[in-house]
C-alpha cells in the first residue's frame, strides 16, 4: 500500500491494466468450466453399468487377459490419476475406440459433424432472416394483430415437440405433397458423386459446380432446416421484440421523432442500431441451442450428424462414442457461449 498516500488524491497504480486482469479471469473461468464438463463425463463413464474391460475382451476371455486389459486401460490406478489420463487423451483429441466399428471415435465425429453444422447453420440463418424483422415489426406495432400473431407463433414454437413437428412435416410435405426430398441428405442416385471437401453437401456441390446434386441436397435439407429455423425464430423474435421495446421507450427516440425524423429512420437508423450487440448474443445462444435441438431432428430425418451418432451409440451401449460426442457438443456449446460474451464486450462501447 502507498504510504505517501495522505490525502487520498494519489492512487496506487494497478500492477496490470484492467483488461489483462479481466482476460485472465475469463480464461480461468473457461478452464474451470471445461474441466468441470470433462469431470462430469468422466464420472458418467465410471458409474455406467457396462464393464469397459468386458466390452473389449468379451465374455469368454481368461482371467489373465481380463487383468491385462484392466491394467492397460489404467483401471487399477487411483481415480484421480485415471482422470488425468483421461484429460491428456481428450487434449490430444483421443476419445478412444468405438466399440461398434473399432475405429477412433474422433474420426467418426469429424466425419459426422459437418452434417450437423450444415443443418444448424441453415436453421439459424432462417431464424435470423425471419425472426429479427418479425420481432422489430411486433415491437413497433405493439398490441396490434401482427404483434398477437408474432406472440402466437413464438408460443407454439415453445410448446411443440420438435420430433413430432418433424414427423408431421415429413408426412405433409414429403408424403402427401411431395414437395421436398425425404429422409437422409441425398437421394441414393446422387450419393458420392461430388468429392467431399468440407463434408457439407451444399458447399461441396457448389464448389464442384454440380448443381443437380446441389438442388437435390437442398430439397433434403430444406425441411429439417426450416424446422430448426422455426425454433430459433420463436426465441429470436421474442428477444428482438423486447430489446426493441426497451429502445423505443427511450428518450432519444422521442427526440428524434420530435426533430421530424421519418419513422423508418428512427426505427432502423436509431433503435435497431442499438440492439445489434444484444442480438449477436442471442443469435450465438440460439445457434448453440440448435446444435442440441438437432439431436431429435436428426433422428426423424435420418440425418447422419452428431445427434444421430450419439443416439445410435447410446442404443448399442457404445460408451466411448457417447461420451466423446457429449464432450464435443459440450465444448462447442461452451465456446459459443464464450464467443457471444466476447462479441458483446468487443462491440458494446459501454463495456470498454
Amino acid at each position: 500500500m502507498a504510504v505517501t498516500d495522505t490525502n487520498g488524491e494519489r492512487r496506487r497504480r494497478a500492477p496490470f491494466p484492467r483488461w489483462i486482469k479481466g482476460t485472465v479471469l475469463t480464461l480461468g473461468s473457461i478452464a474451470v468450466t471445461m474441466l468441470g464438463l470433462l469431470f462430469i463425463t468422466f464420472i458418467i463413464g465410471r458409474v455406467m453399468p457396462i464393464d469397459p474391460v468386458l466390452a473389449i475382451v468379451g465374455e469368454r476371455a481368461s482371467q489373465s487377459t481380463y487383468d491385462a486389459v484392466y491394467e492397460q486401460l489404467g483401471l487399477d490406478k487411483p481415480l484421480i490419476v485415471q482422470f488425468l489420463y483421461y484429460l491428456w487423451d481428450v487434449v490430444r483429441g483421443d476419445f478412444g475406440m468405438s466399440l461398434l466399428n473399432a475405429r477412433p471415435v474422433s474420426e467418426d465425429i469429424a466425419r459426422v459433424f459437418p452434417a450437423t453444422m450444415e443443418l444448424a447453420t441453415l436453421g439459424v440463418f432462417i431464424g435470423i432472416v425471419l425472426g429479427v424483422p418479425l420481432g422489430v415489426i411486433a415491437a413497433v406495432n405493439r398490441g396490434s394483430w401482427i404483434d398477437q400473431i408474432a406472440r402466437v407463433v413464438a408460443l407454439v414454437g415453445y410448446s411443440m415437440p420438435i420430433f413430432w413437428l418433424g414427423l408431421m412435416g415429413l408426412l405433409v410435405f414429403y408424403g402427401i405433397l411431395g414437395w421436398v426430398g425425404g429422409p437422409g441428405r441425398l437421394d441414393i442416385f446422387y450419393q458420392d458423386i461430388v468429392p467431399s471437401r468440407t463434408g457439407m453437401i451444399l458447399v461441396d456441390s457448389a464448389i464442384a459446380g454440380d448443381w443437380s446434386v446441389f438442388w437435390n441436397g437442398f430439397s433434403h435439407i430444406v425441411l429439417p432446416a426450416s424446422l430448426l429455423g422455426y425454433y430459433s425464430l420463436a426465441y429470436i423474435s421474442r428477444m428482438t421484440r423486447s430489446f426493441m421495446l426497451e429502445q423505443l421507450s427511450a428518450e432519444y427516440v422521442t427526440t428524434a421523432r420530435v426533430k421530424g425524423m421519418s419513422e423508418r429512420a428512427v426505427i432502423w437508423g436509431h433503435a435497431f442500431k442499438n440492439i445489434r450487440v444484444q442480438l449477436i448474443t442471442v443469435i450465438a445462444l440460439s445457434y448453440a441451442n440448435l446444435l442440441e435441438g438437432s439431436v431429435l431432428t436428426e433422428i426423424i430425418f435420418s440425418w447422419p450428424g452428431i445427434g444421430s451418432y450419439i443416439t445410435t451409440a447410446l442404443l448399442s451401449a457404445d460408451m466411448n462414442a457417447v461420451l466423446g460426442g457429449t464432450v464435443v457438443v459440450g465444448l462447442i456449446f461452451i465456446c459459443l457461449n464464450i464467443l457471444s460474451d466476447l462479441l458483446y464486450r468487443i462491440f458494446d462501447p459501454r463495456s470498454k
Binding site: S29, L155, Y158, S159, P161, I162, L170, V322, G325
Partner: protein, 308 residues
C-alpha cells in the same frame, strides 16, 4: 357468498380489505388479489382449465377410458380415427389410442410432479446457501452451477440416462440434474437482496442462526419467483421427457407414455398418420397450457411488478 364471518362483511369484502386483522387474513387477502388479476387474464385461465382437465382425466382414468390401454387385439390393428368403438383409432397392436392417451396423462403428470419437486428444491438449497454464506462457498457452488448450465440439457440428460439405464425414474433424475441450475441462480439472486435487509439484521441480533434465517425468512420469499419459473419450465420438462421417451430412453413399452407412443407410430406415419399425430397433439396441448399459465403467473407474481 352470504355466510360472512363478520356481520356486515361478505367473503369478498373480507378478502379485499385494506386492514387485515391477522397474518392469515393478510395472506389470504394477498392470495385472493393475485387470483383476481390472474382470472382477468383469459389466456392464463385457458391454460389453467386445460391443466385441471388433465388432472381430472388422470384421476378418473379407469372410468373414462373405454378399453384397457394394454390389451392387444391384433385383428383390430391400425383402425382409423372415428372407427366404430375407437374414437381415435387403434395402434399397430390394436390397442385403443384414446385409452392409452388417457392413461398416458398419469405418466406425464408423474414425471412433471417429480421433476417439479426435485429440481427447484435442489436449486433453492444450493442458491440460498451460496447467497447467504458467501465467500468461497458461494464461488464453488456457483462454479458448479455454471458448469451444469454450460452443458446442453438434452445431451447431458442422454449421457446420464446412458449411465443410469433407461426408464421413467432415471429419466426424471436426468431431467432434474439438468434443470436445477437456473433455480439456484434465481434463489441466489433473491437471497443476496434479502440478506442485506434490515429485518434480517434484526433477527440476527436477536440470536437467530443461519439455518433458521435461511429456512424461515429467506426461503418463503424465494418461493414466488421459483413458482413462476417452475411453471414456465414445465413445458420444457414435458418436451424433454417426451423426447427421451421417443428415443426409447424414458418410459419403456408397453407403457402408454406419449413420447413413446409417437415413436411407435413413427413407422407407419405415411399410411397411418393418426397413430403418431394424436399423442403429439396431446403433448402440444399440455405444454401450451403450462406456457400460458406460466405467462399469466409471471404477470401476477413477478417481483419486479410489485406483486410482493
Amino acid at each position: 357468498m352470504s355466510d360472512a364471518t363478520a356481520p356486515d362483511l361478505t367473503w369478498r369484502e373480507w378478502l379485499l380489505t385494506d386492514a387485515p386483522t391477522s397474518r392469515r387474513h393478510a395472506r389470504l387477502a394477498n392470495f385472493y388479489q393475485g387470483w383476481l388479476s390472474l382470472r382477468a387474464n383469459s389466456m392464463a385461465m385457458f391454460g389453467l382449465g386445460i391443466l385441471v382437465a388433465l388432472l381430472l382425466v388422470a384421476m378418473l382414468a379407469p372410468f373414462l377410458s373405454p378399453y384397457d390401454p394394454y390389451v392387444q387385439s391384433l385383428g383390430n390393428r391400425l383402425q382409423p380415427i372415428g372407427a366404430e368403438g375407437h374414437l381415435l383409432g387403434t395402434d399397430s397392436l390394436g390397442r385403443d389410442i384414446l385409452s392409452r392417451l388417457i392413461y398416458g396423462s398419469r405418466i406425464t403428470l408423474y414425471i412433471v410432479a417429480l421433476v417439479a419437486l426435485i429440481a427447484p428444491v435442489a436449486g433453492l438449497l444450493v442458491g440460498t446457501v451460496a447467497g447467504y454464506v458467501g465467500g468461497w462457498t458461494d464461488t464453488v457452488l456457483m462454479r458448479i452451477t455454471d458448469i451444469f448450465l454450460a452443458f446442453p440439457r438434452l445431451v447431458l440428460a442422454l449421457a446420464f440416462v446412458a449411465a443410469l439405464g433407461a426408464g421413467i425414474e432415471n429419466a426424471v433424475l436426468a431431467i432434474s440434474l439438468t434443470a436445477w441450475p437456473p433455480y439456484a441462480r434465481i434463489a441466489r439472486a433473491e437471497t443476496l437482496t434479502i440478506r442485506s435487509a434490515d429485518y434480517i439484521s434484526a433477527i440476527r441480533l436477536q440470536g437467530a442462526g443461519a439455518l433458521r434465517i435461511i429456512t424461515k425468512h429467506i426461503w418463503p420469499l424465494c418461493i414466488s419467483s421459483l413458482i413462476v419459473r417452475v411453471t414456465l419450465d414445465m413445458a420444457g420438462i414435458i418436451l424433454a421427457a417426451a423426447g427421451l421417451g421417443f428415443l426409447g430412453l424414458g418410459a419403456q413399452p408397453p407403457s402408454p407414455e406419449w413420447g413413446a407412443m409417437i415413436s411407435e407410430g413413427r413407422r407407419f406415419i405415411l399410411d397411418h398418420w393418426w397413430v403418431a399425430t394424436v399423442p403429439g397433439l396431446a403433448i402440444f396441448t399440455v405444454s401450451l397450457a403450462f406456457n400460458l399459465l406460466g405467462d399469466g403467473l409471471r404477470d401476477v407474481l413477478d417481483p419486479k411488478d410489485g406483486g410482493e
